[in-house]
Symmetry: C2
Subunit: 427 residues, 2 copies
């Protein structure tokens, strides 16, 4: 058992007010959340470790609800290019050279960065779910895999296999049905996927309405927006989620609301690729579940929930021309609870007895966290990776005071990443 | 003398290509920049310290070219409010309660945060230049003070006194003539300021065209945009700088270009207060000198050059609907050289022999800096405070590996900040 005391605790269970207290962890789960238990002070051998939080903030870990971890090999390789040139010349041809083992190492590099930013889980859509799962498992990290069915790779049969293989109880890894996008996946395949989703009563996830050309093209082909077209195919009848949702019509939002589909926003990627700004306030006002993703490191380029949180609120304020739009509490909920809900991690959301111990300790003894007027505003508007004192997943601290505990030396991960990129780009 | 070896060095003198080498510092100045000098390896007593950069990047420090440091007391106190309600109810009344000594301590808190983000100088416009200067000097930090003439505080005579008092050779502190804004300063005072500026051939700095209502109001009063109105008064005849410049007409840009006026952009503040997005690409294409500021912590709320750099390029790409707009090299130059030029710090810009040793060491052994395809893109798109290994001002390391060396315990600064806010807000 681990005990963390002298903390401010933000459970997110009822409102956003922290209290002073302690948390105890037994195995992978939280066994106590509450006021300080004085009987426990003074070690009596029942705790393997007692951690003085030094007044820091314990809160649920952030959930990176949309990413492509293996794309770390493309970070800073191709930026400042128009979107289509970027995708067709600088992404697809290089991805074709990746091996499953490459993706294992490249995913670990991303996991390390998630940990530095207080993320305790990711929702990962990429080429080789098996080696992605292995990388996360070896690090002790939690990953929800997302199927990426399309006309060029992954089949409905494979999705079915992965679905059965990975959705075991108490595992760090789970799998959700998903396809890349309506513009890369034939209607025939989408209909087969819908049948599979119905069989398992499983939600379905996909990229949607990221850029305006994509929406225009879908309307030309089908007469419908991407959201309406996918809904007509029945893909959302078991719920699900859409990544991006930048260019949305009012009817699209009503469909998402009706079908209990989550929206995962990726503001940094949408800016950097000049895709646009999502209508976060409208979706929030309608009660659509919202989550935040970094998108992949080829388009972002960093994997930092603090930057994303500031962008969600800042861009919403700009878009609505209203400095009061989309406040800090709402954004912090998106980054933690909204992500957990979108990814189906109902066991890893709030801090409460019996829940998975997926939590982070935020150092408040840093200049950017002072004064302590309002902790949630401090986090969303001023927070930064250097405030993350530790990141714990399933009861294990994987990152603490700048050091990684992922069963691998950081230098080895860096060296592998350089080797892989050297081979692929012929350096 | 200090020696830093085993580094990648980005001097910014000619282009943006780093090389492997070492830097030596004698007193406050750089005495050597170049390839490794093997004769020096093995201590012979001539260096008080030899630092192994472990392959990290040495580069010029960032310049925070617009801020109001003392406003740290308002961080997270009043956010998510419409602009006018924020300013009139949550800023002005509380500022009236500040003492000069309060501003001393509150400025130190800001200086600490600047150091964590690799900033080696700030351009500070606030109420009490004398205690701001004292705070920076006591920390060993470099501050360019900016006059804030307006109809309610500071007079032309005071600006003259400060100008003479602070512009001494080799001092950490300097002073530039400035006024708050055309909408808070009478034409009579502006004419007197222009006379003073002519007397010293001194550039003049001010807030300008931050919000659209400000521009509309100026046109109603004067028939001119703020830029054209100030130019008609001759205020820019000795150069200078304008903070914000969000809502600019083509004619305004031509005036700035003609008068060699720098533009200091503050993208996070402009988003958070829903002011808008500045036309960075247009200004850059015209060859206007550009610099970056955080603005004050009441509106930003954090003081982080990495976040600002990403926003400058991301928002420019969004505004131009072009993912190739405003590339990383250009933004990195704005954050360092552009700031030095705007602030008149010609001795603190590039890394070269004889220049002030205002420099930073960036840790590249972090997941967000790998792989090493392109260092400037890594910094601008993926960089974060946790990559700053040390920040050196005038040859002294003020921040290293998370520790501050500012002649004061961090806890004391935090406690003073809490005491001051407690007194002001009656907690």
């Amino acid at each position: 058992m681990i005990r963390i005391y002298n903390a401010k605790i933000l459970t997110m269970e009822n409102g956003m007010q922290p209290f002073d207290g302690e948390i105890q962890i037994d195995g992978s789960r939280i066994s106590y959340v509450g006021e300080k238990i004085s009987a426990f002070s003074g070690a009596d051998g029942q705790f393997e470790r007692e951690i003085d939080a030094r007044g820091g903030l314990l809160m649920p870990g952030f959930k990176n609800a949309h990413t492509h971890s293996g794309m770390t090999f493309l970070r800073s390789h191709a930026d400042d290019l128009p979107l289509l040139e970027w995708l067709n010349r600088q992404v697809f041809p290089w991805e074709a050279r990746l091996t499953p083992d490459d993706i294992y190492h490249l995913s670990k590099l991303a996991v390390m960065e998630y940990l530095t930013s207080g993320m305790t889980a990711n929702f990962d859509m990429y080429l080789t779910p098996d080696t992605i799962a292995q990388a996360s498992e070896d690090c002790g990290f939690r990953t929800v895999l997302c199927g990426a069915l399309n006309d060029f790779s992954q089949s409905v049969e494979q999705l079915d296999e992965w679905y059965q293989k990975y959705n075991k109880k108490d595992s760090l890894i789970s799998f959700r049905l998903g396809f890349h996008a309506e513009y890369t996946t034939s209607e025939e395949k989408l209909r087969a996927l819908k049948e599979l989703a119905d069989q398992y009563h499983a939600p379905v996830y996909t990229h949607s309405s990221e850029g305006l050309p994509e929406v225009i093209s879908c309307k030309e082909r089908t007469g419908l927006t991407p959201t309406a077209y996918m809904d007509r195919l029945g893909l959302f009848e078991n719920g699900g989620g859409c990544f991006h949702c930048v260019h949305m019509e009012p009817k699209d939002l009503r469909i998402l609301k009706k079908r209990r589909v989550s929206v995962i926003t990726n503001p940094a990627s949408n800016l950097k690729l000049a895709s646009g700004i999502a209508p976060i306030k409208q979706m929030m006002d309608m009660g659509i579940n919202l989550a935040i993703g970094t998108d992949g490191p080829a388009s972002n380029n960093c994997l930092d929930m603090f930057r994303e949180m500031f962008l969600v609120t800042g861009l919403s304020k700009y878009r609505e021309n209203d400095a009061s739009a989309t406040d800090a509490d709402a954004v912090l909920k998106m980054a933690a609870l909204g992500g957990a809900a979108a990814m189906g991690l109902s066991d890893c959301d709030i801090l409460a007895e019996g829940k998975q111990a997926d939590l982070i300790l935020i150092d408040l003894n840093q200049p950017n966290m002072r004064p302590l007027h309002n902790l949630t505003k401090n986090l969303v508007y001023s927070g930064s990776k250097q405030n993350v004192r530790f990141t714990m997943v399933a009861g294990k601290i994987l990152y603490e005071d700048g050091e990684f505990f992922i069963g691998e030396e950081p230098d080895y991960v860096y060296r592998k990443a350089e080797e892989i990129t050297g081979r692929i780009f012929g350096y």
